[in-house]
Subunit: 181 residues, 2 copies
């Protein structure tokens, strides 16, 4: 951030009075510009004993398999965003979503939420951001071709929980070195 | 948003190619400025049969009672942010946090996360953003003096769950008319 998005004057980075962290502050109009983590929201979609995976047509991790997910938009609930991403990436309509996993990824300033949802019929297709979409059984999951640790972890929890028939919502952290600036 | 925070030129609001929503786009450098919901994170802190409430010294809802909570910061996990807010607002040290409630509030572009945590000793005090901090039993909760619906709902779930000895994590939506611009 170099300029104030409100008045266009240059910003400086300093700790505001009463705060404890440096913020970008406009020297013209005084606006303090806070920067905060973003929410990524998605779905673990199942049909009978299989789960819905999408092969990424975009970077990062082009060609790797993922669960449908993307950035939560303003004006949207986390569940609605997860359903929207599932429609956009996998052309699948889901309802009745249940929170399943939440991950904090502080090194990239993201919070992930995944919801469980069941397909009523095996109707899906690759959206514009996907090369392919498939329903896969546990034995078919390409564990070494999954796009992100949050996807691997969510799938592992799911198959383990399925053995017990109980799917508690969980929050976890994925800790890595900060991303280089 | 009026100006590009990267180059300082004016922005316009239009739908980028391949997108479906209007974004602020810089006509100078082409940067697309996405705006996304923010995460508010906090704690339902207990000690024996009582819960920790803070009386707000700031707006909005000055003078009303709340659970310690505030905006998640970059570089921070949701649980670490909840513990930090608990320290800042109630001078209470908590560890071993468990996700309890998650709320989407699309009318104000927020996602709330509340974690349960137990105090090891009844040590707390009002931080700079609080007028008072108290441990309260269920009978002492000032239900008509609570600051936010997310606080009321989280406390109701807690006292109900306590009767069963089981505290599942839950996600919910709070739907209101959009905030006037």
């Amino acid at each position: 951030m170099n300029y104030c998005s409100h008045c266009g004057q240059p910003v400086v980075s300093r700790i505001p009075d009463g705060d404890s962290r440096p913020r970008f502050i406009c020297e013209g109009c005084g606006t303090i510009h806070y920067q905060n983590p973003r929410v990524v929201t998605g779905c673990l979609v199942t049909f009978e004993d299989r789960v819905l995976l999408a092969k990424r047509a975009i970077n990062p991790r082009h060609g790797f398999w993922t669960l449908p997910a993307g950035f939560l938009e303003n004006g949207e609930t986390a569940a609605a965003g997860a359903a929207r991403e599932t429609l956009e990436e996998a052309c699948a309509v889901v309802n009745d979503l249940s929170l399943y996993t939440m991950f904090s990824l502080p090194h990239i300033n993201q919070v992930y939420t995944f919801f469980r949802a069941e397909l009523k019929a095996p109707e899906f297709a690759a959206g514009t951001e996907s090369l392919d979409v498939q329903l896969m059984s546990e034995a078919e999951i390409p564990w070494d071709q999954l796009a992100f640790p949050v996807v691997t972890d969510t799938l592992k929890f799911y198959f383990e929980d399925r053995r017990h028939g109980h799917f508690p919502a969980r929050a976890m952290d994925i800790i890595r070195a900060p991303r280089p600036r």
